[in-house]
């Protein structure tokens, strides 16, 4: 019986170019996203079919999320936010298929995405607003003697954003997949033990089925949370200062 954490093992496929199972599923996610969306919209129908409706719903959903959080100005980041949402969502969903590798269960992947978001925020904020961008750390209407503390707190909260953004996604995907494997392992172990214990095997199976449903929810929800937070952080780059 495999260990619950074996599924997170990186296995080289083409070692020369560092191509691993993780890389394979990143490429797979991009192929699924671009291929799926292009296939869904190939008819460019005025009255959309099912697949085109899904593509348009995804587009409108991400556009609405970004517009609500960062306003019409924020729409210049739409390709980035849409790519992020689709990448995280597709990677999470691909991970739900048994035997598939979950890219987002790798902390380095989620952290890199978080750094991409925060890097965009900082660089765009500095280019657009110059030193005014640092107004982000100086809330207005705070007594002067409190300012040093507030600025330190704001700075820590800003720096912890990529950490929380990446760890939230990573931990959710990791824990969910471990739990699924553990319950699946119970079924196998109970059946293997035979006799009275084998009769109990359906219990963890039901649990695994229920967890599977929960994990689909988590996979979609965490992609959404990642996207919403990205939009909120991008809003800081557009409108620094409280």
């Amino acid at each position: 019986m495999a260990s619950p954490i074996e599924q997170f093992q990186i296995k080289p496929i083409i070692p020369v170019i560092n191509f691993t199972n993780s890389s394979l599923f990143m490429v797979g996610a991009v192929a699924v996203i671009v291929g799926g969306l292009m296939l869904a919209t190939r008819k460019r129908a005025i009255v959309p079919g099912r697949a085109q409706s899904v593509a348009e719903t995804l587009h409108d959903f991400v556009a609405g999320t970004l517009r609500d959080a960062a306003g019409e100005e924020g729409m210049k980041f739409f390709p980035l936010v849409f790519s992020l949402f689709m990448f995280v969502f597709t990677a999470n969903m691909l991970g739900m298929i048994p035997g598939f590798f979950t890219v987002t269960s790798q902390v380095i992947v989620t952290f890199s995405l978080a750094i991409l978001v925060m890097g965009t925020v900082v660089i765009y904020g500095l280019l657009k607003h110059g030193t005014h961008f640092f107004g982000l750390f100086v809330p207005s209407g705070v007594p002067v003697w409190l300012l040093p503390f507030i600025v330190v707190i704001e700075l820590i909260s800003f720096i912890s954003r990529p950490v929380s953004l990446s760890l939230r996604l990573f931990a959710n995907m990791l824990a969910g997949h471990i739990a699924l494997k553990v319950f699946g392992g119970f079924v196998a172990a109970l059946l293997g033990a035979g006799g009275a214990l084998a009769i109990l095997a359906p219990l963890p199976l039901f649990m695994a089925v229920a967890l599977m449903a929960l994990e689909f929810l988590v996979a979609a929800l965490q992609a959404y949370v990642f996207t919403v937070l990205t939009c909120i952080y991008l809003n800081d780059a557009l409108h620094p200062g409280h």
């Binding site: 495999a2 990186i10 691993t20 890389s23 991009v30 460019r44 587009h59 990573f170």
Partner: protein, 182 residues
Amino acid sequence: MAQAQTTHAATEAPGGAHEDVGFPPFQTENFPGQVLWLTITFVVLYVLVSKLVLPRLSGIIEHRRQTIAGDLDEAAAMKSRAEEAGVAYEKALSEAKARAQALAQEARSKVSAETEAKRKALEADLGKRLAESDAVIAQKKAEAMTNVRGIAVDTATAIVERLTGKAPAPQAIEAALDQPKA
């Protein structure tokens, strides 16, 4: 990492030997490769999404929005054309009505003028005949009156003859009759 390793070791114990060590997501030797491929794939995704997928998607949505707006405009134009046609029809109808009324009025006045003329002619004719009748009556009356004198002369002569036994002189009777009535 140490804790992760012990967990790993503990969970690995029944599963058999693995040459790798450490909790896979924290194996730093795999980080560069994953960052490299994430960068490659995400850049490819971003380029494809921003150059291919989103232009097409927003093109479809925009095209639909324009089609709907165009259809609505066309419908509004058609509606206003229909309203114009309705107004024109109303106008034509009221013109026709007015013309019909004028024609009817004309016909009526013509007929009544004719009737009036006929009535006048009739009245004139009647008046003439009345006058003629009046003349005849007057003549007859005059004739009758002369007859009355004759009758009176005769009657007076007869009465006087009966009373006196001899016929009076006609001149005396004439004279008596010419006397004004008391």
